[in-house]
């Protein structure tokens, strides 16, 4: 099964503005809430850390795939790779693609993240646990229950 997430969003800003927000590593960091070490370049690993409150310990790592000016920006990464004790490098990453199209009022952004069928099922439950720190304990109960049962 080729499972993926697709989003489309209208932005009231020119394509050139959106392209800069996507591909300038400092601008990207502002809305994505990540502090990146350096500029994006195709084929290069992008490293940094999350600045989202409560997740500051989480490292950001992605491999930039394509940068076709004002058209396509893509990278591969490990979604919800938030546990510092887990080595995610052996898992198949997902592919994130941002496509831009000029519209009468600005820009149409098409986001696609694909390759979720390769994510190990144990990681899915972990993602639920991490989604709200306040409920971590309760979700841990659930997880141990599920683990016992398996």
């Amino acid at each position: 099964m080729d499972s993926r997430i697709e989003k489309r969003i209208e932005l009231k800003a020119p394509v050139s503005r959106v392209w800069r927000a996507l591909t300038d590593y400092r601008e990207f960091g502002e809305w994505f809430r990540v502090k990146l070490d350096g500029p994006f370049a195709p084929g290069r690993i992008s490293r940094g850390h999350i600045t989202y409150p409560g997740y500051e310990h989480v490292k950001w790592e992605a491999v930039v795939q394509k940068m076709e000016p004002e058209r396509l920006f893509s990278f591969t990464w490990h979604p919800y790779a938030v546990d510092p004790k887990t080595d995610y490098s052996k898992e198949t990453p997902t592919l994130v693609e941002f496509r831009l199209e000029k519209t009468a009022n600005g820009t149409l952004l098409l986001l696609r993240e694909s390759g979720f069928d390769k994510i190990p099922s144990g990681r899915r439950l972990e993602a639920f646990r991490m989604n709200d720190g306040g409920w971590t304990a309760q979700m841990k109960n659930l997880e141990s229950y599920v683990a016992q049962k398996a």
Partner: protein, 107 residues
């Protein structure tokens, strides 16, 4: 093929409530419980507990089982382990992230 996300109550929405999480915490420890058992020790009315159980049932996280004359509720972890629920969660994250991008480029 994109996975259909809007079939029933999304698992993520069903879990986004402390009462419902506490109901799951009770149910996942063992045997199925009746509504009376679940209401006992809670601040909520039987009606309120029933309403929450229906939401969990609609997400497939609990299901009703009959034991004689009694209606019991049992926990089913399957929807939470499934890829559909996981995609819902990641999808929700993207909604928030893209909303921040929109605010960023439109300001």
């Amino acid at each position: 093929m994109a996975v259909e996300l809007q079939a029933q109550t999304p698992v993520f929405a069903a879990l986004a409530d402390k009462t419902r999480l506490s109901l799951i915490a009770k149910l996942c420890r063992g045997r199925p419980h009746s509504i009376s058992q679940l209401t006992k020790g809670s601040q909520l009315t039987r009606q309120a507990i029933t309403k929450h159980l229906r939401v969990l049932e609609s997400a497939g996280i609990v299901h009703g089982v009959r034991a004689g004359r009694e209606n019991l509720f049992a926990f089913d972890p399957e929807p939470m382990e499934g890829i559909k629920a996981y995609l819902e969660l990641v999808s929700e994250q993207w909604d928030q992230t893209l909303a921040r991008l929109k605010a960023f480029v439109e300001r």
